[in-house]
């Protein structure tokens, strides 16, 4: 499964522990600046590619996708000269911390790494990603869902990674509770509010949903849906508007629901949260396309009671969705085998067999148009969802994800500042829209300190 933020990772706790005793001494892993990795855009000749793909080579691939050896085997069968060394260097933040350290140290970094969409600018700002255009990446554009291609394209048109899987956002809901209390599936956010009031009045033990006050990634997905242009990057000029009108609209909306006690704000991926699903405390989960398979593993007692639907809309006539999670495969600067690495990344994410396996083996939600329209994929019936064709619902949603959304070149900081301003205000039932101003203020100060020229708005 793609990205549930790495809250759960035990390894991360241990890393944190290791740092506990060494406040000063631990801060030694990083210094110096990285070398620029991308050269001018000049296509590599087919002869060079053929030569590289027949020369015995080993490339290292850091990924946390379980059982990805199976897809790798398909590649190795086609290109017997190339051996791919799969390393699980931890999930999400764990992996990124190690990756950064290795990149800064100049040794030990892999040839390829799994990187989530939202982290691509964070790594491209340090010139850690190889531009894949010289290796023929542009020819693959039409194979991928449009918005995913936007996500892997850099500010100067560089192609920085291949989309692996996605997380377009939808709504999972408890059909049994909806039926019991006569609630229609809300199509707009206004209807969602009305449904929340109705449900709360009918059953004081149930919340229509839980808007986790620590879940910056999900929140960004909702900002994305609302049409916020929070981050726009051009060179070293950074447009920051995390408090733009769309962002404030989202903040106001959820603060309103929280203040009225119509939704809970429990932190997600915690024991309390899991129990909330199992005990029926939450009647919906606004989540991504990887949510259905995750939930079916985490809330088994509620099997058969769930259904999937698109997110409620701001404007019902123009359905829009955001994305939450999903990963890419990127080639890391400093690789000695850029051709083999780039071709592996391409094969892994475009080959019909491997992309299909991503869905059947890893339960990934596809990034390729071919699979999203493949009846064998969309027609799958899920017992957990009462036999509903959940993939079809999310395949439809995927087409409505806004193409223009961009991520900041320092995502960790954006997440941290969100949690401590907007997230906190939401949890405290305070003025959440005003808190986005603080978010903007803190992020602007950070960006300036990091040498960016900042444009508000």
């Amino acid at each position: 499964m793609p990205i549930f933020p790495a809250h759960l990772s035990r390894r991360r706790l241990l890393t944190a522990m290791a740092a506990a005793t060494v406040a000063a001494a631990g801060l030694t892993g990083c210094s110096g600046s990285s070398e620029p990795g991308s050269g001018p855009v000049k296509a590599v000749s087919q002869a060079d590619i053929d030569k590289a793909m027949t020369t015995p080579t080993t490339v290292t691939f850091w990924t946390w996708a379980p059982n990805i050896e199976q897809e790798v085997a398909v590649f190795e069968k086609k290109y017997p000269a190339i051996k791919v060394d799969v390393v699980n260097a931890g999930q999400g933040l764990d992996a990124y911390t190690k990756l950064r350290t290795a990149l800064k140290a100049g040794t030990g970094a892999p040839d390829l790494a799994q990187i989530e969409y939202q982290y691509i600018p964070t790594f491209s700002i340090t010139k850690s990603l190889v531009d894949l255009r010289p290796y023929g990446a542009a020819a693959n554009q039409a194979k991928f869902v449009d918005w995913t291609w936007g996500q892997v394209t850099g500010p100067d048109g560089e192609i920085l990674a291949y989309p692996q899987d996605t997380g377009p956002m939808g709504m999972l809901y408890r059909a049994d509770l909806f039926e019991k209390y006569g609630i229609e599936v809300p199509a707009t956010w206004d209807e969602f509010t009305a449904a929340a009031r109705k449900l709360r009045a009918a059953d004081p033990d149930v919340y229509l949903t839980n808007m986790a006050a620590n879940e910056a990634a999900g929140w960004h997905g909702l900002m994305w849906q609302a049409g916020s242009k929070a981050y726009t990057v051009t060179g070293s000029t950074l447009g920051l508007a995390v408090n733009d009108a769309a962002s404030k609209k989202v903040a106001d909306y959820w603060a309103g629901l929280a203040k009225e006690d119509l939704v809970s704000t429990d932190p997600d991926f915690t024991d309390t949260w899991y129990q909330g699903f199992n005990s029926g405390k939450y009647a919906t989960w606004l989540t991504a396309a990887w949510g259905p398979s995750f939930l079916s593993g985490s809330a088994k007692p509620t099997a058969g009671k769930w259904r999937a639907a698109p997110l409620p809309q701001w404007d019902a006539t123009k359905p829009v969705a955001g994305n939450w999670g999903g990963s890419t495969t990127a080639v890391m600067a400093g690789t000695q085998n850029p051709i083999a690495a780039a071709k592996f990344a391409e094969f892994l994410n475009t080959d019909p067999e491997t992309t299909k396996m991503f869905n059947t083996v890893q339960n990934f939600f596809p990034a390729t148009k071919a699979l999203l329209t493949d009846p064998s994929f969309t027609g799958q019936k899920s017992a957990f969802f009462g036999g509903q064709q959940v993939n079809e619902v999310f395949a439809g949603i995927s087409g409505t994800v806004d193409v223009g959304w961009q991520w900041p070149p320092f995502l960790d900081q954006a997440v941290k500042d969100w949690t401590e301003t907007t997230g906190k205000a939401l949890a405290d039932k305070a003025d959440t829209a005003a808190a986005t101003d603080q978010w903007q203020e803190r992020l602007t100060a950070y960006a300036k300190d990091q040498g960016f020229t900042v444009n508000a708005g």
Partner: protein, 310 residues
């Protein structure tokens, strides 16, 4: 509380016998301390020096690394997030440490008095929490504190009152204090108990002959004998309190909007280094924290030694 290097022996009164031994065999002694010295230099002094070096630079995402002298330190001195963190752990120290020391002292005296029936069980039981890794401890307490399904909340539900949200803004510091007390009271108890065991039996006999009861013995004989050990525990606690990290860092996952990234100075330094990529500034913050600990420890030593030199 992360210091665990000291052994109970250190608390025992220094033996005066071998103080002035000749130095002819001194060269061989170096051979014996060499393994320690090598590790000490490689794993402690070098990283420390490197961190000090790092703290004089500034690494930007745009513009690279520049030498900034003491800028990071002047910035840290004006950083209200850091100041609040230091004040918070200061408050923690003032409340949690006396409570923990009192529990440890009472337990040590009780075990040493010989009046307890199952003193071994008691001693072990009190010490076991120290053997539990703080990761496990924090997770366990996190569950116990849970606002919905924690036993405390459920008990409140049964008895018809609303249990306070132990993971909320108001109670968080106390909740953390409770975890730390649970973890380290037994550890301190062992140090104090070991110190008590080293009091020569003759003194007790003498006191008994003079007609002193158990309370008088505890007050006039045992407590003064415990002085150096108490001081040791106190210094450990200063360091532990001001370096508070593991517990808040773990509980942060359960209450991310309460325990923020600058909750304690160490959490702050960690977040600066690994979330914000401000390694240089984090190094400066860490050094300032080390300085604060040094000052507080010295003040403690000064206050207590002044008291004894009458």
């Amino acid at each position: 509380m992360t210091t665990s290097t000291a052994t109970a022996r250190a608390a025992a009164p220094a033996s005066p016998r071998r103080a002035g031994r000749s130095t002819t065999t001194g060269h061989h002694a170096y051979l014996f301390v060499a393994p320690f010295l090598v590790c000490f230099v490689l794993l402690f002094l070098l990283p420390l020096a490197y961190a000090a070096y790092l703290s004089l630079f500034k690494d930007q995402l745009v513009g690279g690394t520049v030498f900034v002298g003491l800028d990071n330190y002047t910035r840290a001195l004006q950083d209200s997030l850091l100041l609040h963190g230091v004040l918070r752990v200061g408050l923690f120290f003032l409340i949690q440490v006396p409570v923990m020391m009192l529990i440890a002292l009472v337990a040590a005296l009780a075990i040493d008095s010989g009046l307890l029936r199952a003193s071994r069980v008691f001693r072990l039981g009190l010490f076991v929490p120290y053997a539990v890794p703080s990761v496990v401890a924090a997770l366990m307490w996190g569950y116990l504190y849970g606002p919905d399904f924690g036993p405390l909340a459920q008990l409140g539900d049964r008895l018809g009152f609303t249990a306070p949200n132990l993971l909320g803004d108001t109670w968080m510091l106390a909740s953390l204090g409770n975890i730390v007390t649970w973890e380290f009271a037994g550890y301190n108890m062992i140090i104090l108990y070991a110190a008590l065991r080293s009091v020569p039996a003759e003194r007790y006999e003498a006191a008994a002959v003079d007609g002193a009861g158990a309370w008088r013995i505890a007050w006039h004989l045992k407590l003064p004998a415990l002085r150096p050990a108490l001081l040791l525990c106190l210094i450990f606690s200063v360091i532990g309190s001001f370096q508070l990290f593991a517990e808040p860092n773990l509980v942060q996952r359960l209450a991310p909007t309460v325990v923020n990234s600058s909750y304690t100075p160490n959490v702050y330094a960690y977040s600066l280094a690994f979330t914000s990529q401000q390694v240089n500034y984090a190094a400066a913050v860490s050094f300032l924290l080390g300085f604060v600990i040094l000052v507080v420890s010295y003040v403690m030593l000064f206050l207590t030694s002044r008291g004894s030199r009458r």
